[in-house]
Symmetry: C2
Subunit: 245 residues, 2 copies
DNA sequence: CCTTTACTCCCGCGAAGTGGGAATAAGGGG
DNA sequence: CCCCTTATTCCCACTTCGCGGGAGTAAAGG
């Protein structure tokens, strides 16, 4: 790979992380000679990828700030994930889903089916969050105050005999989910249906989506779900690596 | 400026504008040889600045999408504008402001005073939009449905004998403002105070902020305001060029 | 299964980037 | 208001690193 490109992206990454830097900071952080750093920074400023407010203050420029806002990360995650999820569905002999949280509702962006067993989910469908594995993962990774707001505002309907509707129990589930990094759901939304989900996060730990496997069976058991956890984790890693190498 | 950096940014810009491209598209649009385009694209993909969903589909990667969301464009505009506005204030012998719209209120981000005349504005202060020049510019460049929503919801208080409170008149002012690119206000918020404002927009015409000059005088006149329009326009151009070269 | 299309890889030439250092300009503090 | 500090700009010979044509290869879609 061209070295200059790497150096250039090092500079951008560095400023992206640090917020504002002087040229000296940049040179030091990226391990670049002074003049090289200056040359790169000048080129980036000239193109609007960096901006210098005052002396010794470089920051991200308008071009980059605008680029981010035009397209949503969710749409990228969706297209990136489609193939890995199809592989996951085959490998685990289960349905695979990708979803994000939208206005406290789980929004399914990708569904990859497996076998004949029919699951009611569909792409673009919205479901309640408290009773689905994906929903639990997404809720659990919200800021604490938003979790509380959700728990207070929520109207937790009993969809099956196993649906958890008690606020305290849900809160504990969410805490546990956040701690261990995955969530399950066994017949909480529909009979014979169980689910295992993990989050998709960026390198800083911010969660942007979640993926899950869903199994339809006469004999629901946690063990059958957890067998799939390694494969799910691997898919998670693959997607995260594609998004944030 | 290093040529490779320029080519690299050409590629990024190209994908940013086109949304999704194949390698061939990129090479064609940027006028690059195939192998060169491939080398650049690979490097960008390896760093997460581009992502390839499937064959022939490159798009912006997670790194860039995330970079944009972390910092706000408003904060950049604020720091970039401070110096040009100070110069503007000196040159026009007036107070200069930068503001954005936040929840239908004008939010002042930068104030550069001139002379002794005191103006009530302050940085971080919020004012009503319908009766200020900056507010009119910002409102006028909202999507039509949001303008209508503002006009319907608004409670237009008469602050001075000259405040415009009639919805129909305000609507016409906004249309005219959008057409000609600037707005004035003569004693609509306070006695002896008049104002002239223009928008700060990106290359696609999207308005992100507005700047203004404010004059305190015993004899308010449109002419004295419009004398300042060229200087204001020049400052606008300078800021826009710094943001989006 | 086959075809098409996009991607990957290779290699010698030479243009293009490198980087040490000195001059210059621009702020901020006293 | 001036000086001092610190960031920035500029220069130039060296040599590395990227260039780019084309042939091979893998993958998607019919």
């Amino acid at each position: 790979m061209p070295e200059l490109i790497d150096k250039t992206l090092d500079v951008v990454d560095c400023i992206n992380e640090a917020g504002v830097c002087s040229l000296a900071d940049i040179a030091a952080r990226c391990g670049l000679p002074f003049s090289t750093a200056h040359r790169i920074v000048s080129a980036l400023v000239a193109r609007g990828y960096l901006a210098s407010a005052k002396r010794g203050q470089y920051r991200l420029g308008g071009r980059i700030l605008l680029a981010g806002s035009r397209q949503s990360l969710a749409s990228l995650i969706e297209t990136i994930s489609r193939r890995p999820l199809r592989d996951l569905a085959r490998m685990t002999r289960a349905h695979a889903h990708l979803a994000v949280l939208d206005e406290d509702m789980v929004t399914y962006l990708v569904k990859q089916s497996w076998g004949r067993a029919v699951v009611h989910s569909q792409e673009h469908m919205q479901l309640e969050a408290y009773c689905t594995a994906i929903g639990k993962v997404l809720l659990a990774n919200l800021p604490p105050d938003e979790i509380e707001a959700y728990l207070e505002a929520g109207d937790f309907v009993r969809l099956t005999p196993f649906t958890i509707t008690d606020v305290e129990t849900i809160r504990n589930h969410l805490l546990e989910t956040r701690r261990c990094g995955w969530a399950t759901e066994v017949e909480e939304t529909a009979p014979h249906l169980m689910c295992l989900a993990v989050p998709i996060a960026d390198p800083k730990g911010q969660v942007h989506a979640a993926i899950s496997v869903s199994i339809v069976t006469r004999q629901p058991s946690h063990a059958a779900l957890l067998d799939r956890l390694p494969a799910l984790q691997e898919t998670k890693s693959g997607i995260e690596a594609a998004l944030f190498p």
